[in-house]
């Protein structure tokens, strides 16, 4: 078959890239080989546009056992325990087929974690939809939520935290990011690097079908009006089989028979075999006749590019095949030796004893294209909002507008569809700043949270990047956890557009600065470009998933007010920054100006001091102040507890709307017992922390002297209406 320009284009490759392939092969590729290049050289697998920027991220630290480059990142949480975690996007498939797209997103990220020897202990997600008024939003929301629940509930891993946001920027391109967290013993971590010649390459798990062929290429292109036609490239999930595969793999891992193991995710058999061989500096030979197939007459091309789910590739030690097969037989899963490692440094594909394709491994990995794409800096907006130019608004009305908005409404309609309690180690469920999961059979725990702030990133990517890392860090601090490391899912538009590439480069610059300063390294992640339809790109949406450690688990700390007549302190300084705030967006539809400034020095100092107070058991409840400002944070503390608060007006002359709705960073509200006030104040002063005593908790009403009085029951109602009536 002659490779025409049209075929090349259909494979998502540029003509220059095809010329490059010919040079590397020293001949023209056949169709099978072209398909393999297309799978490995697309953006999703090769990171060709992002690589040079990703290199700048801090990936090291005392706590890091394995940084980016493996199936997932690994951190040390003391004793002999390691936590393995990663976040990944499944945006494109979820827009086309929301249930299966979201479900297989969860399945894929779980495999990344248990492939490394961890038993998954928690799932999280970050999902972004278009405007609720958009005709597709409701069915997409329903489909995605049931897909996430359907997979996690069935496999029996609790879905413990997440975020759901709505913005018209996602009308034609939703975001579905799933994060999995697992626990392993430090000395029992499995990697994907192949070692040794003539070792058996074993295929385990589900059979291969025609689903998902070229899924990774689809995730590397923009959508257009014909996107619905891409439905056959969406994979179908089978959480039941994944449960069996997980148990079988974990059972096999108890023994020492695995040299290396890799899940078949994007680009299936192709990327898994190339990855293992490339890391081991070896060749790999596969006999495709042996691949277990679900459908008849599958061609080598289809087998190599299928993205059928719930499959793994394992390289075994000599003589371990029989024992290993027994385990997979027990779980009724396929177990077939399909090939071996070789010294040729080639990927060799045989079918009916004939070589159907042969490609040097490095042409698919280290020699894959890397682009230093052009990018431009974002000009900081000079726009300042003057409240005098806006219609007068009462604090109460503005607050109600925020609490009843889709983005701030209570999300139990969603979280009640997820099993949050299975495995019996969920100490704190979603709804707090961070979820808390106990390490099984131990008295320590991890805290996890996932966050994004696309509006901030859109208006000023560097500040947005810093802000989102800081907010995620703060969310772990508020529950008393020491933040350890993050995983990131970088959702952006078309990287061939200089402005979009600029958003990417600058967001990463911000993420880097914050991670470095807070000693909060990136250990894993994923890049998703081409989020957009017909040249309309989404707002830059980096999503940060953080993990922190609670060394000694006592009573979990949350943001519910505990009792009346306790003192409320506001830690951190309030300037009243309203540009890019949710106050302006919800009440006046204004989203102009700069996001609030990030002062990493204060961020770190305030957070670390709060951790000291928590360690000394001086804090009864705590909440970080983010979107919606101080009054929204206080409302959330009231709503979740049914206990109110009486707040004084600021002593300094400041506009009340700015004071109560401003989104200045590095701030927390904490509740303390009046008897402990001087102790707490001394510690705050010793650490040079700015704080204000803003009032005290009281029965039933959230009140600002002479400005606002609203019952917690009413607040609860306002906050719980939207989802149930949507």
């Amino acid at each position: 078959m002659k490779i025409t320009d049209k075929i090349i284009e259909k494979h998502g490759l540029k003509i220059e890239e095809f010329e490059n392939i010919k040079k590397l092969l020293k001949r023209e590729p056949n169709l099978l080989e072209l398909g393999i290049f297309s799978a490995m050289w697309n953006e999703h697998c090769s990171y060709k546009s992002s690589k040079i920027h990703l290199k700048k991220l801090p990936i090291k630290g005392k706590q890091v056992i394995q940084g980016p480059g493996e199936n997932a990142g690994v951190i040390d949480v003391g004793d002999d325990d390691a936590i393995i975690f990663k976040i990944e996007s499944h945006n494109h498939p979820s827009y086309i087929e929301p249930y299966q797209g979201a479900a297989t997103g969860v399945g894929g990220i779980l495999r990344d974690v248990f492939t490394m020897g961890a038993r998954p202990i928690a799932l999280l997600n970050s999902i972004h939809f278009g405007s609720p008024k958009h005709s597709k939003t409701k069915s997409l929301l329903n489909g995605v939520v049931s897909g996430i629940g359907g997979y996690g509930n069935c496999i029996g891993i609790p879905t413990v935290a997440g975020e759901t946001k709505f913005n018209e920027t996602y009308n034609e391109n939703i975001l579905v990011n799933a994060m999995a967290v697992g626990h392993a013993k430090k000395d029992k971590i499995f990697y994907s690097k192949a070692k040794g010649l003539n070792k058996s390459v074993v295929y385990v798990g589900s059979k291969t079908g025609r689903d998902g062929i070229h899924g990774a290429s689809m995730a590397s292109a923009e959508f257009d009006e014909n996107s619905d036609e891409k439905k056959p490239t969406v994979q179908v999930g089978d959480p039941f089989t994944e449960k069996l595969l997980m148990e079988a793999c974990l059972e096999l891992m108890k023994d020492n028979s695995i040299i290396s193991i890799q899940d078949m995710g994007a680009a299936g058999l192709t990327s898994s075999s190339v990855e293992m061989a490339s890391k081991g500096n070896l060749g790999i030979e596969i006999e495709l006749d042996k691949v277990p197939c679900r459908e008849e007459n599958m061609t080598p091309y289809e087998m190599m590019l299928s993205e059928s789910q719930e499959r793994m590739l394992i390289i075994l030690e000599d003589g371990k095949e029989q024992e290993a097969k027994k385990i997979f037989d027990k779980w009724d899963l396929d177990f077939v030796v399909i090939g071996k490692t070789t010294k040729t440094n080639n990927l060799t594909l045989k079918y009916n004893n004939k070589i159907e394709g042969e490609i040097p491994i490095d042409a698919l990995s280290s020699k894959a294209p890397i682009y230093n794409r052009k990018w431009i800096k974002k000009k900081p907006s000079k726009k300042q909002i003057n409240l005098k130019d806006l219609k007068k608004i009462k604090i109460e009305d503005a607050l109600i507008k925020i609490l009843s908005s889709p983005n701030h409404s209570n999300k139990s309609w969603i979280t009640n569809q997820y099993d949050q309690s299975v495995m019996c180690d969920t100490v704190q469920k979603s709804g707090s700043d961070a979820a808390i999961i106990r390490i099984h059979n131990k008295d320590k725990a991890i805290a996890v949270s996932v966050d994004s702030s696309a509006n901030y990133c859109k208006s000023h990517p560097i500040t947005g990047g810093k802000q989102i890392v800081s907010e995620n860090w703060r969310n772990l601090v508020t529950v008393g956890a020491k933040p350890l490391a993050i995983t990131n899912c970088l959702n952006f538009g078309n990287p061939e557009n200089e402005e979009i590439m600029g958003e990417f480069a600058e967001c990463l610059e911000g993420i880097k600065e914050a991670c470095e300063y807070l000693d909060y390294p990136v250990v894993s992640g994923n890049v998703s470009f081409y989020n957009g339809t017909n040249n309309k790109n989404i707002h830059p949406t980096p999503v940060i998933g953080g993990v922190g450690l609670i060394k000694k688990l006592n009573k979990p700390l949350d943001h519910k007010f505990k009792n009346e007549n306790n003192i409320l302190l506001l830690i951190g300084k309030t300037f009243g920054h309203l540009e890019q705030s949710c106050f302006l967006k919800e009440n006046f539809s204004i989203d102009e100006g700069m996001p609030p400034e990030i002062n990493l020095l204060n961020e770190k100092n305030n957070g670390e001091t709060l951790l000291k107070l928590i360690d000394k058991n001086l804090i009864l409840s705590s909440h970080d102040i983010s979107s919606g400002g101080l009054i929204t944070a206080l409302s959330e503390m009231s709503i979740s507890s049914g206990c109110g608060a009486k707040i004084q007006k600021p002593k300094k002359l400041m506009n009340l709307l700015k004071y109560f709705f401003g989104e200045d960073q590095a701030r927390y509200v904490v509740e303390i017992n009046a008897n402990n006030l001087s102790k707490v104040e001394n510690i705050l002063k010793d650490n040079d922390i700015y704080y204000d005593n803003i009032g005290y908790t009281q029965e039933e009403y959230l009140e600002i002297e002479g400005e606002l009085k609203i019952s917690t029951k009413d607040l609860f109602k306002i906050n719980n209406e939207w989802y149930n009536s949507y």
């Binding site: 509930n153 069935c154 027990k330 779980w331 569809q417 309690s421």
Partner: protein
């Protein structure tokens, strides 16, 4: 007391129930579904989860599995059987318990803490509770909407076979306190011989204060009584 937990492919609360049993000093064994013999047991537990993926119908395939014949034999000879969530669904599929579990009324999976009222505290499974004691307990299911015919419902009432009903915090049993649409708020029932209990809520999730509460503990200590 010796207990056996049956593990089907797709069971996912097997570890949780085993932890709870061991915490309460049961001598527990896990029994793989392909076994053809059960170890000597005073209690057999069929745990929650998605046995065989719940494909076809919840519990349907497990209800026809090899080991289930042994469970039926033991049940008929008076061994205590406890089916939780998917275990309850499996027990109705085998016929050991009558009635069936339909899709939740709101057609969605529901996971939350709800309340149940102890209707009968004179059973092997509930004798440590007070009558009409209100328990806060977790549910997690798609098909928990209990239904049966009127003849069987009469029998359930007459023979006092309803052990738990969904209620509110104060113990009121009404439509508002019914999370899934179950007939007469039924959350757990016995067979006529009162040696088999099927229930949708998860008592094994309620045995530790730091995780939830201890409202489930007395179900297990009742069995030891």
């Amino acid at each position: 007391m010796r207990s056996s937990v049956i593990v089907f492919p797709g069971s996912n609360c097997d570890r949780d129930i085993a932890m709870a049993l061991e915490k309460l000093q049961f001598k527990n064994q896990m029994v793989w579904h392909k076994e053809t013999k059960l170890p000597k047991s005073d209690l057999i537990v069929i745990p929650g989860g998605f046995s065989y993926g719940d494909y076809l119908r919840s519990g349907a395939i497990a209800g026809k599995s090899l080991i289930i014949n042994e469970v039926i034999k033991s049940a008929n000879s008076g061994c205590l059987i406890l089916g939780i969530c998917n275990g309850f669904q499996i027990l109705t599929e085998t016929g050991l318990l009558k009635g069936t579990l339909l899709r939740n009324k709101n057609l969605k999976f529901i996971n939350k803490d709800i309340y149940i009222n102890v209707m009968n505290n004179k059973t092997n499974f509930s004798n440590k509770y007070k009558k009409n004691q209100v328990l806060k307990i977790n549910i997690a299911h798609n098909e928990g909407n209990y239904f049966t015919d009127s003849k069987h419902l009469d029998e359930l009432k007459k023979e006092n076979l309803i052990v738990f009903k969904y209620c509110d915090e104060k113990g009121n049993i009404n439509e508002n306190s019914n999370p899934n649409g179950s007939l007469e708020n039924i959350a757990g029932i016995l067979n006529k011989k009162k040696n088999i209990l099927g229930m949708m809520p998860h008592p094994e999730r309620m045995v530790e204060e730091i995780i939830s509460n201890k409202d489930g503990v007395n179900l297990f200590s009742s069995l030891l009584n």
